[in-house]
């Protein structure tokens, strides 16, 4: 749905005749509804196929598997809506871990170290945003370069070896390992981030300008929107959220790995696109993107439970992406 990103609240009582029907039709035709349906079908099928699937432990493991990555998905979705793309997210996640870990081992307070690392990731975003908006390079190339640069920096700092952070204070480890009641704290953070950004993306004027810019950059400029600023800030936001995710990973693993997050960009972009974000910009929702991530995660988990070879899993995930995009293209063509 190309315009799924703009809030579609029902205006039913004004157009009484078609109001309720139209509302039902619109909800039924929304991307999110379709995804939820597919996920539910998978759930039902899997609960028959494997008694282990619907257990609390498995559910928790599945949510944990995408929760932190889900924060990166949020940033990527917003950047995609603005018309950009970021291939460097995986490297930036790793860079945040490695830099914070290295600073901690050098005697810095872990909270300060984390703040510095997140700020450094924001700087990577600024550098990319500068290249895109001031020099006029394409997001794809710029983020490809920074993907390599950030990864190189990780390897340089660690000399290629993982850093063990066994001395992290427990209150810091709580971020990644603690629970509030039965719910892991990571999931709490994830849910808060998702709800906050989903709400802002639907309602706030600031994020509306991201939609305008991505939908038609020139028309946005001709509406008085400073499109370069919008693109710059979207780029910075994506890198900052990636840095934030890196810190959570560090707290969760109690270590910093210079090779962590390789290939993450593909997962993240796939989730956003399955959830309805367009690579051309102008459309997408956080809820949709997260559902895309859930779908990919459920599929992975299902395949693992069914003892399907790991090598098959990638092929299946790629096929799901292709199917989702083709389906979208087909729908849009029929609409026009």
């Amino acid at each position: 749905m190309s315009n799924a990103g703009i809030p579609v609240n029902e205006d039913g009582n004004k157009i009484a005749k078609t109001g309720i029907l139209a509302a039902v039709m619109r909800i039924a035709s929304m991307r999110e509804t379709g995804l939820i349906a597919i996920i539910l079908i998978l759930f039902i099928a899997m609960s028959f196929a494997s008694p282990y699937f619907l257990t609390w432990v498995n559910m928790r493991a599945m949510v944990m598997a995408f929760a932190v990555e889900g924060i990166v998905v949020v940033g990527m979705t917003i950047l995609l809506i603005s018309g950009g793309i970021d291939l460097s997210v995986g490297s930036v996640v790793s860079f945040a871990m490695v830099l914070a870990g290295w600073l901690f081992l050098s005697g810095t307070d872990p909270w300060v170290a984390s703040a510095i690392a997140i700020a450094a990731c924001a700087c990577i975003g600024m550098a990319m945003g500068f290249c895109v908006t001031k020099i006029g390079l394409h997001h794809f190339i710029v983020s490809l370069a920074f993907m390599v640069i950030a990864r190189g920096a990780c390897l340089l700092i660690t000399q290629g070896r993982p850093i063990g952070l066994y001395t992290l204070p427990p209150e810091f480890k709580f971020i990644g390992q603690g629970s509030i009641g039965p719910i892991p704290f990571v999931i709490v953070i994830f849910v808060v981030v998702v709800i906050a950004f989903d709400f802002m993306l639907r309602r706030s004027t600031v994020f509306r300008k991201v939609f305008y810019t991505g939908s038609n950059e020139k028309a946005a400029a001709y509406s008085g929107i400073r499109t370069k600023k919008v693109i710059f800030l979207s780029t910075v936001l994506c890198s900052t959220l990636s840095g934030f995710a890196g810190i959570i990973y560090m707290a969760r693993f109690g270590s910093a790995q210079p090779t962590f997050g390789i290939g993450m960009e593909l997962n993240v972009i796939a989730a956003a696109v399955i959830g309805g974000a367009s690579l051309k910009g102008g459309s997408g929702t956080i809820l949709g993107a997260i559902l895309g991530a859930v779908l990919l995660s459920v599929v992975s988990s299902s395949l693992a439970l069914l003892d399907v070879s790991v090598y098959w899993q990638d092929i299946i995930r790629g096929s799901i992406l292709l199917a989702a995009v083709s389906f979208d293209h087909y729908l849009n063509k029929n609409k026009a």
Binding site: R208, F211, A219, A221, Y222, G224
Partner: protein, 514 residues
């Protein structure tokens, strides 16, 4: 003139979904004639030409070429049949040479593995020998718009065609270049090539064409020898009603306030325009005329802070103001409606409501920067009703509307900030006749209510019909002003394309004003 018919179109209809673009149209073309096509935008001329060129397929009807029925399924086949089409929009590859552009189709079809540039340039030079001295070796991007147009024509000529379609080729040409083109057309016709010539300019039709066919609302209305018809008849047939009702009434004498809304002094942008000075009075509609590329749009965009490095002074309602970017301009109440609606005027994929609010989303938001969806829809509903917007649900994308209604959405967006001055660039391009006169009426009402209206248009009848005063721009300078009795196509065309003499400077203009 031999009366041998080369192309016979019979009962051609074409519909796009529910819209019938052509209704059982008959049309014939004689060998060696220059046949003008006249009609408003949306009358069906382009659709018919696209059918002849194989871009579109007719829903029903037949085409006979040299007495034989043909089915033209693609532009490539049209070329084989000897039909060449010079489109209004230039469709050249800017980064390759002129010669390569001209022989692109041939190169594509050729089985040779290597390019023979020597031969290519040689043949291109032969083509240009009869046109204009353009070096076949230079890149298309380095040519002026008018020379690019000539390359398009050269491209069609190399196809060895028997029918040549020219779609408003003079829109981007100076008068001198246009005269060269007419001479070329005459010599081609003398060689037996038939030319279909689409133009809005009556003078060109009467000076250079043999016959004229008029279209309206997808129907063929009349075909006549030019000596048997008058310009008034053509216009009457084009619009299908009495001409003086086509445009809203002009400003009445007693409505002239003399109160200056906006005063522009010595506006200069180093490469686009210089010494631009003029005033917009309350209650009037001011027009900007000139050839494409003369700098009309650039001046409007410059005033609104959309592009360019501007020097000069701007006075809004007697106070000096400075505009650094478009946001400043919007805050001051000066807005610009783009000429390229789909390219930069509207957000096709976004909803009607969010299009209307785009100029100042903050207006429909709460203090916390959250958009109030019901207020946003209310704004779109109110403005849409005011402009008589025919729409479905406000949450539907703008792409679901017709061209005229899309333009009304763009206009509603302008009105959403209650502007003091609106610059409208080609406000009725691609808009059907009904919506067009509706938009003109809306603009007149706005002017009555004290909003300064500036219309930039390439359609002279529109400028003459709607505006109270027209400034003519030529090569980045204001070359003159026409109003009242001098507001005629001849005066404007003369001012738009006079060559040789240096045009009047901006300050002379002010002195010359009564």
């Amino acid at each position: 003139m031999p009366a041998e018919t080369i192309l016979q179109i019979s009962k051609i209809s074409k519909s796009f979904g529910a819209i019938q673009a052509l209704k059982a149209v008959d049309f014939n073309l004689r060998k060696g004639e220059i046949h003008a096509l006249a009609g408003e935008n949306g009358a069906g001329k382009s659709t018919l030409m696209n059918i002849i060129d194989g871009i579109l397929q007719p829903t029903s009807g037949t085409i006979h070429l040299n007495g034989q029925e043909v089915k033209i399924t693609s532009p490539a086949q049209a070329q084989k049949l000897g039909i060449g089409f010079v489109h209004q929009e230039i469709a050249l590859c800017p980064d390759i040479s002129v010669a390569e552009n001209i022989f692109m189709a041939e190169t594509n079809a050729s089985s040779a593995r290597l390019m023979n540039y020597q031969d290519l340039y040689e043949r291109a030079r032969t083509v240009f020998a009869q046109l204009s001295p353009i070096d076949p070796g230079i890149l298309v991007r380095e040519l002026s718009i008018s020379n690019q147009q000539l390359v398009e024509i050269a491209k069609a000529l190399t196809l060895d065609c028997q029918i040549l379609i020219l779609d408003e080729p003079t829109a981007a040409l100076t008068e001198k270049e246009a005269q060269v083109l007419f001479a070329i057309m005459k010599s081609l016709a003398a060689r037996g090539i038939s030319i279909i010539y689409i133009s809005h300019r009556m003078v060109e039709i009467f000076d250079h064409c043999d016959r004229v066919s008029v279209f309206r609302d997808g129907q063929h209305i009349i075909t006549s020898e030019v000596q048997d018809i008058t310009p008034d008849d053509i216009v009457k047939n084009m619009v299908g009603r009495v001409i003086d009702k086509l445009y809203p009434p002009k400003q009445e004498q007693h409505e002239k306030t003399g109160e200056t809304l906006l005063k522009v002094c010595n506006y200069t942008e180093k490469s686009r325009f210089r010494n631009i000075s003029f005033e917009i009075f309350k209650g009037e509609i001011l027009g900007f005329a000139g050839l494409i590329g003369a700098g009309r749009s650039e001046i409007a965009k410059g005033i609104c802070g959309l592009e360019g490095n501007i020097e000069g002074e701007l006075w809004l309602r007697g106070k000096p103001v400075s505009v650094k970017n478009y946001q400043d301009s919007i805050n001051l109440g000066m807005v610009y409606l783009s000429e390229d609606r789909k390219g930069d005027g509207i957000f096709l994929d976004l909803s009607i409501a969010s299009n209307v609010s785009a100029l100042c989303v903050e207006q429909v938001a709460t203090r916390w920067g959250l958009i109030d969806a019901s207020r946003e829809r209310e704004q779109a509903r109110d403005l849409g009703d005011r402009l008589n917007l025919k729409r479905g649900h406000l949450d539907q994308p703008v792409s679901s509307l017709s061209g005229g209604n899309q333009q009304k959405v763009a206009l509603a967006k302008m009105l959403s900030v209650s502007p003091r001055v609106i610059f409208l660039d080609e406000p009725t391009r691609g808009v059907d006749v009904g919506a067009k006169s509706e938009i003109h009426g809306i603009l007149r009402n706005l002017a009555r209510n004290g909003v300064g209206i500036v219309i930039i248009s390439s359609e002279l009848p529109e400028l003459i019909g709607v505006c109270d005063r027209v400034l003519v721009v030529r090569e980045g300078l204001i070359s003159g002003e026409v109003s009242g009795d001098t507001l005629t196509e001849e005066h404007i065309m003369h001012l738009a394309s006079i060559t040789g003499s240096e045009p009047m400077k901006g300050h002379d203009m002010q002195d010359a004003r009564p």
